[in-house]
């Protein structure tokens, strides 16, 4: 099994001396489903930014999908995100006023695929998350759970090597949260590599691997059986 994420001795300091990450080592293999769990202020959001290549570490090395991000320019880093990483946000961040299908197709906008192909793949991705009959609906016509499933479709439509979900159930009621978590499990069964960032230990415990964080450090890692 190949490695999707490899963090080595990563620290992140913000101006003013706040040390958000302090010597983090983390390896995520292909096909894993893991939770990065910790209270607010534990550094899990910073870890998400670093793993998602939205931010660079102060020290240490980060490799995502085999690319050492220290060597990459902004353009190449953007391409890395476009081709290898999918994001799911707590607040969904759907574009208002355009259909679910167009929202999902936005996920491929920076991939270089022609528009018709993007729309076709978007319809397939909506089908995959169980919203085949909602392609024409606009965000305000969808429930919270449906919105998050549209956002997940947008994240996976480019077939990323890594899906990063930041508190994906944080804005949902329990039932909707259940459907979203079940969908993530299903995607994992199909082979997707998924990292769920959450403060909710209950959700974390139902995932195969848990990485617990506190004060910028990993305090526990149940590890993946394969590694």
């Amino acid at each position: 099994m190949s490695t999707v994420v490899a963090l080595n001795g990563v620290t992140k300091e913000y101006p003013g001396g706040v040390r958000a990450l302090d010597g983090v080592d983390l390896t995520v293999g292909q096909g894993e489903l893991l939770a990065i769990v910790g209270p607010s202020g534990s550094g899990k959001s910073t870890l998400l930014h670093i793993v998602g290549t939205l931010d660079r570490p102060t020290t240490g090395s980060v490799a995502v999908a085999g690319h050492d991000i220290a060597e990459l320019s902004d353009r190449k880093l953007s391409a890395l995100r476009a081709q290898h990483i999918g994001f799911v946000f707590q607040a969904f961040h759907l574009v208002p006023g355009i259909s679910a299908q167009d929202n999902v197709a936005e996920g491929l906008l920076y991939s270089g695929l022609p528009r018709s192909e993007r729309r076709r793949l978007a319809a397939a991705a909506l089908d995959r998350v169980g919203l085949a009959e909602r392609t024409g609906h606009r965000p305000h016509e969808l429930s919270g759970g449906q919105k998050q499933r549209v956002a997940i479709a947008r994240a996976l439509v480019g077939e990323p090597d890594l899906l990063l979900a930041d508190e994906p159930t944080g804005a949902l009621d329990t039932a909707s949260g259940e459907t979203v978590m079940k969908l993530l499990h299903d995607l994992h069964q199909d082979g997707a590599t998924i990292a769920v960032i959450t403060h909710d230990t209950e959700i974390a415990e139902r995932l195969p691997r848990q990485v617990r964080m506190r004060d910028g450090q990993i305090v526990a890692d149940t590890g993946s059986g394969a590694l």
Binding site: L54, A65, P160
Partner: protein, 412 residues
Amino acid sequence: MSAGTRERPAHGPAHGPALRAARLSLRDVAHVGSAGLRSRPMRVVLSALGIAIGIATMIAVVGISASSKAQLLRQLDALGTNLLVATPGDSMFAGETVKLPKEAVGTVGRIDGVEKAGATGDVDATVRRSEKIPADETAGIAVKAATESLLEVLRGKVATGTWLNEANGRYPAVVLGHVAAQRLGVTTPGQQVWVDNRYFTVVGILDPLPLSPEIERSALVGWSAAQQLLGYDGHPTSVYERSTDATVHDVRKRMAGTINPRSPQDVLVTDPSSALQAKAATEGAFSSLLLGLGGIALLVGGVGVANTMIISVLERRYEIGLRRSLGATRGQIRIQFVTESLMLSGLGGLAGVLLGAAATGVYATSGGLPWVVPLWAVAGGFVSTLLIGTIAGLYPAVRAARLSPTLALHAA
């Protein structure tokens, strides 16, 4: 092997292909750039309005002066630029007056290319409303002898009554120029005016003659009547000729020599349409003050667009973060906001051109002018809006591109 259900060409994630940011197609750039505008139509209207007013002012200023110029040129075309006038030149010797030969009209008429020639001769007499008005109150009206051919050469028309002919040309009959009739208070033929020492009957009043204002201010008497009744010596003071357009130049060169072969320097040849041509040229030089006002309006409009763009960037931080997380490069974010700014000012420019053209149209129709909006003004207006759009959008776009991509993850 990957998150989706679709099979992907076999490459392990650890040995991915070289990373290359994809380019957006022009259509995608337009689509992304217009997204912000489509979601806030009212703001688009208001911020484009400034640009629209500026462009409309400039187009209207240029259009109105171009329409006036076109009107003058049209007039000039109707009057013709093939009319020449020969008058006595200044004498080389002080105190000596130069005269044109009596047979000048006939010789000019025989020059190749001359279609018709006519003449007037200054008569030493005054014209008054009645004998009771003192002789020195001439109201600036001259008495001239006129050949029958004169009116045709000038392309003039009689407003009321008749022109001089062989019959009335021998009797005390007078035709008044348009201005002369006004000053004498004569409105209908048949009225009498006091010329020199007797009453003459007004037989006709002429229409305005823009190329010959001196005729407009004259009382015209037949050639033989002038000689018999007013002591006119028969020497013409102005010889008018109309030639074909192609020969005007040649005729002009030969005219003086033909009229007075022995001393052609005593003959002055002028082109009455040249004054009107000069007027047409200055009419084209539109008011730079109004144009400057339009420019200032345009500048203020540009500032408005820049303002709107800065607010747009502030409001859409999450969208920018989202796009960055989806793989947009800094350059693609910049392009998105510059495009938005370009579209905003372009819309203003389009509305401005239409408004300006419409304003010119209203002015032209109400003034009876032809409707002319020069293409260069329209093109110039557009180019300047695009320039302003780029400049106004550049700073907000650079700010947008510099925003940290992590912003999208800080939940709204």
